[in-house]
């Protein structure tokens, strides 16, 4: 399976600011996914990012709040904009894994706390 790294691993931010989370994969992948996991909740898909095209956002998530970049086949960023305490979550990127359809492998996650 791919090795995925995320930066930062955690951060504490003030409301109204923005944070960009980076996701790096050690191999080229077509699709990268961004999830949010709010405290006590399950993983919710924010958007799917394909290289060379606009990200596809799920219902309830908009590009102005969560802009995503996908400049190449090994890297993506998710920005959480104009943060409020409700954005406090774990943010995870994932990729499809090694010839096994439907299976996604996850990065180590970013724990965000907004004060």
């Amino acid at each position: 399976s791919a090795v995925i790294s995320q930066k930062p691993s955690r951060d504490i931010c003030q409301r109204g600011t923005s944070l960009t989370i980076q996701c790096q994969v050690d191999s080229q992948v077509t699709m990268m996914f961004w999830y949010r996991q709010q405290p006590g909740q399950s993983l919710t898909l924010i958007a799917t990012a394909n290289q060379g095209s606009e990200a596809t956002y799920e219902s309830g998530f908009v590009i102005d709040k969560f802009p995503i970049s996908r400049p190449n086949l090994t890297f993506s960023t998710l920005t959480v904009s104009n943060m409020s305490p409700e954005d406090s979550s774990i943010y995870l990127c994932s990729v499809e894994g090694g010839g096994r359809p439907d299976t996604q492998y996850f990065g180590p996650g970013t724990r965000l706390t907004v004060l």
Partner: protein, 114 residues
């Protein structure tokens, strides 16, 4: 709306016990069901099941899918403290143009005490 429900939400057992975690689902365009183990932040892949009645095994963990009754179970035998984690069930569904989407349940928090 696709729905994945896991039970129980939490479970406390002693080392050596056997546990069964449940996952039921109501989705359209089912492709597969996956189990993940989440310790700290990152979920790690355990199993993917696509066919009914075929048990997947990995050491002390095993899982089976029933596509008629729309559920799956994850069994852990001879539990160890290292099995303490949140176990997530996810269902993959077709979402058009050959792509798919994962819908996750809320997870079962397993605590194994010595």
């Amino acid at each position: 709306e696709d729905k994945v429900v896991q039970s129980p939400l939490s479970l406390v057992v002693h080392e050596g016990d056997t546990v069964t975690l449940n996952c039921s689902y109501e989705v359209t365009n089912f492709r597969s069901l996956l189990w993940y183990k989440q310790e700290k932040k990152a979920p790690t892949f355990l199993f993917m099941l696509t066919s009914s009645g075929i048990e997947k095994k990995s050491g002390r963990l095993s899982s089976i899918l029933d596509k008629k009754e729309l559920f799956s179970i994850l069994n852990i035998t001879a539990t160890q403290t290292g099995d303490s984690a949140i176990y997530l069930c996810a269902v993959a569904t077709y979402s058009g143009a050959g792509s798919y989407q994962l819908t996750f349940g809320k997870g079962t928090k397993l605590s194994v005490i010595p």
